[in-house]
Symmetry: C2
């Protein structure tokens, strides 16, 4: 199978993926952005998020900054900015900030040196917990702990769920297909002797 064909095919198979922009800075304070579709939930307690990165690719600056500083931000790609976000995957020189090159603005964290993307409606600050090598294909699994969350309170429902569709978060399929979403339903905790039921009507925003 031709390499690009195979990459497109296999990348599509896992299903829909998250669309996030990783924000980092080096020791001099130079900022860097890179879109990734590999962020995933690891656990809620402690609050952990993971992502897979292939060294020596376009994420090289991002990965170096994370390892050097131990800090990074995860910013949801808003559907209003998916083209800008895609452009952060271009191989800019290390000294070019993708904030300027791709049309994003820095928002400062209160506790981290890594920059947030102001245009993102859901921003997460993390401290690096571990980097481990997946030897099967020489990718690195980066796991961080959530230390700061920045989002509008009205996006949080009274059971803690964050309405990321209301936040206009995009999703990705394959390497380069961007999608918006339409909620079908939220469903209650499943039990063997109970039919599936909707919980949507019982859920309100926190304010």
């Amino acid at each position: 199978m031709e390499q690009r064909f195979r990459a497109n095919l296999i990348n599509s198979l896992s299903g829909f993926k998250s669309a996030n922009i990783i924000g980092t800075a080096n020791a001099k304070g130079d900022t860097n952005l890179c879109i990734v579709s590999s962020v995933f939930h690891v656990g809620a307690n402690p609050p952990l998020m993971g992502m897979l990165m292939r060294p020596h690719t376009v994420v090289r600056d991002t990965l170096k900054n994370i390892k050097d500083n131990g800090e990074y931000t995860i910013n949801h790609v808003p559907i209003t900015h998916f083209k800008n976000a895609h452009q952060t995957s271009a191989r800019y020189p290390s000294e070019t900030s993708e904030f300027d090159a791709c049309g994003f603005s820095v928002e400062k964290s209160e506790i981290l040196s890594a920059p947030y993307v102001a245009e993102s409606t859901i921003k997460i600050g993390l401290k690096l917990q571990q980097v481990s090598l997946i030897e099967l294909n020489n990718t690195e699994l980066v796991i961080g702990e959530v230390v700061e969350i920045s989002l509008a309170e009205q996006l949080i429902t009274n059971d803690g769920y964050v309405d990321i569709e209301k936040a206009k978060s995009a999703c990705v399929s394959g390497l380069d297909s961007y999608h918006r979403t339409t909620r079908m339903d939220r469903l209650g905790y499943a039990a063997p002797e109970r039919p599936v039921y909707s919980t949507l009507s019982s859920l309100d925003s926190l304010n």
Copy 2:
């Protein structure tokens, strides 16, 4: 933070997630299904897919079968069956097949003993490659190699991308919110001196 509130909150933060049903069988041939939102792309060459599982939870039968047999299937949740798929998360007794309990039909693989979900439009057969413990929170990272793919040829575009939206694959946010998608665009390979461009018009189905 209250435990369920925290679980909903942190599970929402990573962004949209894939919706897949894992199909397995034990040595006696008893079948098992379990919906997961933790499947992610690991690499295209070799073709690897990962998923995170917490032992001693509802996935216990699935995880045991995978470890015992070294085989499993990943089946996209179709938007037509998201309620049936959600119901597979109920704690049925080990001897109950979720195929029967939740309204799904078995489709046999040509090379694996693990069952496919007939109602799924994208079905992937895998052989286990490794299970590794993430000590930070005692979850297990399960990585398998794709050995069989079953989907309609008209879902594959001429560059290898599988149109999982056309396949009616669902996506998930948080623990229990189900969404369908609307494609905004597919974008070409990004380069510093080139504006973002759409590739949609140049892409056709393979047949």
